[in-house]
């Protein structure tokens, strides 16, 4: 039996297309969105392919309703996603907080562009790296992945769906216009090689009064709608049963801490980094499109006999501070490369500063990937 959701083969494919194909391979059943550069190709592809496999893409009246509709469909038991860019995320932030608060699996793709405000839509600038973690109001933890190639747009989208299902959480793909619009080889494996995760549900026929469907640090079963669970789902402060409590601050404390701990207690399972710094005196820390320039610079440095390594964040959130600290113990100098004015730099510096000298290298021009030659120059500067 062939699986119409997966089309195995080797393709020359755009990153945004690979993202949509990854979503369909992961089992996405419903997507909603609003056209926006540079993410629109994802919506176009989903609109074409989802109905062919029994799913649906809806073009909504705005990004606010897009995120609302996918959260609603997720509570109806579907695997869901939306794709947008920075301005769309800004509009979605309130309901992203809602999704966190009521523990809704959903995948949100941000193909980042030049900001602030309407900015420059076709420029690839990862300028929303902290927005995903701190943009919605209140304390919370989030999961965010940083693909660096069209292949990873496919792979990470599947991973994002699996993490969303396992942890009942919104999961971000933080791509940018470079990665979204890049065309490269994408290998789509056969369906049996793709791991697919599903959310835990309460036992069928459970007594609705006894379902503890929220605030479990080890992820509560999700009392999805339409199965007789009579779920009371409110984003207002609530207890394990979903019962609203707006008067007792200890209930609020429990609400906030258990949602955060659900992610923080599982950092080891969630966090992925790419380490290539054995014996390196200088380590280039980066993520996304810039990591490609960092890898090239490290290669050339090694050819010159310089002890240079790389460290790539695949997971930006939860923040891999332990892995960065460990790296900093073996490196003498750390150079952080971001195609922005240093959004993750303070977090990386805080984790690495104890053991290594940490410096930041901004792009020559915002929106332009670092020139490997310029990185080499910087390496020679920091080396004694």
């Amino acid at each position: 039996m062939s699986n119409p959701r997966v089309r195995p083969g080797r393709y020359f494919m755009m990153g945004n297309m690979a993202c949509a194909d990854g979503a369909i391979a992961a089992g996405c059943e419903f997507a909603a969105g609003y056209p926006i550069t540079p993410a629109t190709e994802i919506a176009n592809r989903l609109a074409e392919r989802l109905p062919q496999v029994g799913g649906l893409f809806l073009q909504m009246e705005d990004e606010i309703s897009s995120i609302a509709a996918i959260i609603g469909a997720s509570w109806a038991g579907k695997k869901v996603m939306t794709a947008t860019s920075g301005p769309g995320i800004s509009l979605m932030l309130e309901n992203i907080g809602f999704a966190l608060g009521v523990e809704t699996p959903c995948v949100i793709v941000n193909v980042q562009r030049g900001g602030p405000t309407t900015g420059m839509p076709t420029a690839g600038v990862p300028g929303d790296m902290v927005q995903v973690k701190r943009g919605s109001h209140g304390d919370y933890e989030i999961i965010a992945l940083c693909p660096a190639s069209p292949q990873e747009m496919f792979d990470h989208t599947i991973l994002a769906f699996n993490l969303a299902e396992k942890f009942r959480s919104p999961v971000f793909i933080l791509a940018d216009a470079f990665i979204g619009h890049m065309r490269e080889e994408v290998v789509i494996p056969s369906p049996d090689q793709i791991e697919i995760a599903y959310r835990k549900l309460p036992e069928p026929g459970s007594d609705p009064q006894k379902i503890r469907g929220f605030l479990d640090e080890n992820v509560a079963p999700m009392p999805v709608f339409g199965r007789g669970f009579k779920a009371h789902v409110t984003s207002s402060c609530h207890d394990e049963y979903g019962k609203r409590n707006l008067s007792d601050v200890s209930a609020l404390d429990h609400f906030v801490r258990s949602l955060c701990n659900k992610i923080l207690n599982h950092k080891e399972e969630i966090i992925r980094v790419e380490k290539n710094y054995d014996g390196a005196e200088v380590v280039l820390v980066s993520y996304g499109a810039v990591s490609r320039a960092a890898a090239m610079a490290a290669l050339r440095a090694k050819e010159e006999g310089l002890a240079v390594g790389t460290f790539r964040l695949i997971t930006a959130w939860p923040f891999p501070n332990e892995e960065i600290e460990k790296m900093s113990k073996s490196a003498r100098k750390v150079i952080v490369l971001e195609n922005n004015l240093g959004q993750l730099f303070p977090y990386i510096k805080a984790a690495a500063d104890c053991h290594a000298e940490v410096s930041f290298m901004p792009p020559r021009v915002i929106g332009e990937i670092h020139d490997p030659e310029a990185i080499l120059k910087k390496i020679r500067e920091v080396l004694p």
Binding site: E29, F30, L56, M60, I64, S65, A68, V102, H232, T234
Partner: protein, 277 residues
């Protein structure tokens, strides 16, 4: 000895022990109209998914109804409801919220889903004011009324919500007041039995905020006023706009059979997968 149990009590969530409504609030009349409709049609709470936003009216399904309930962010319940309907097309999806929630912050979702004619029921409790936050002006507050945010009187024209939703393309639109509990129940029953975007506006009293602001007084006085001011749509057709000033036109304004979105999506999927009809 057995205690007398209200026949509709079975629809109330067992963990709910008390109401959050102020004395004299119209919420109870509307909640009962919904439950009576379910009872009279021999439906169960499991046939429904309820969605509400923020405000006093939104607290009718959340937490009172013993069913699947999504209590959402301010203004967005219809957008969440659309997603739920896409995932559970066989369920009746019902939004219960207020005029501030659905027509101010949520106005865009109201008109677009009326345009889509997606199969859902929206009950909009219109009390003409922001009750929960303490009596601020709403897009439905009558011109000139002094509220906490318009201490010198409002200077904006109010929405006629039902007309707005009719213009946006809804296939069933009715308006009643809390004085019309029977008629309201009958319209909710019709909405539950048909496919399409069914919108029911209920003019409802908020004696604590609106009543104080207008001097219209107690709940009973406000409902008496609704009775006196109401005119059936058939009668209203005979009057001029001027003659209708100060009247509340009630009745079922629109009931039409036009393409419904869930059904249109079903056909689209057949086209996409190459199946024949």
């Amino acid at each position: 000895m057995s205690a007398v149990v209200h026949p509709l009590h079975r629809f109330i969530r067992p963990s709910v022990a008390s109401t959050t409504n102020c004395p004299g609030c119209g919420n109870g009349i509307v909640a009962q109209a919904i439950m009576r409709a379910i009872d009279e049609l021999s439906l169960t709470m499991d046939d429904f998914v309820y969605v509400s936003g923020i405000g006093c009216a939104a607290w009718i399904p959340s937490p009172f109804f013993n069913a699947d309930v999504l209590h959402t962010t301010h203004g967005r319940p219809i957008a969440f409801a659309l997603g739920i309907k896409m995932g559970l097309p066989e369920k009746k999806v019902m939004v219960v919220s207020g005029d501030g929630d659905l027509t101010a912050i949520g106005g865009n979702h109201l008109i677009h889903n009326a345009r889509r004619n997606v199969d859902m029921i929206v009950v909009c409790l219109n009390n003409g004011i922001y009750g929960m936050t303490g009596g601020q002006a709403a897009p439905t507050t009558p011109m000139g009324l002094k509220t906490t945010t318009t201490p010198y009187g409002t200077f904006e024209a109010p929405f006629d919500i039902s007309r707005l939703v009719i213009a946006a393309g809804a296939s069933f639109v009715a308006r009643w007041t809390t004085h019309h509990a029977r008629q309201l129940t009958a319209s909710i029953k019709k909405a539950m039995q048909r496919k399409g975007f069914s919108f029911i506006e209920v003019i409802t009293q908020c004696p604590v905020q609106f009543g104080k602001k207008t001097g219209s007084g107690s709940s009973v006085q406000m409902m008496r006023e609704y009775k006196e001011k109401s005119i059936l749509t058939k009668e209203a057709e005979k009057l001029t706009e001027e003659e209708l000033q100060g009247k509340i036109v009630v009745g079922e304004f629109v009931m039409k059979d036009i393409p419904e979105m869930v059904e249109e999506i079903r056909k689209m999927k057949q086209r996409a997968s190459g199946e024949k009809k």
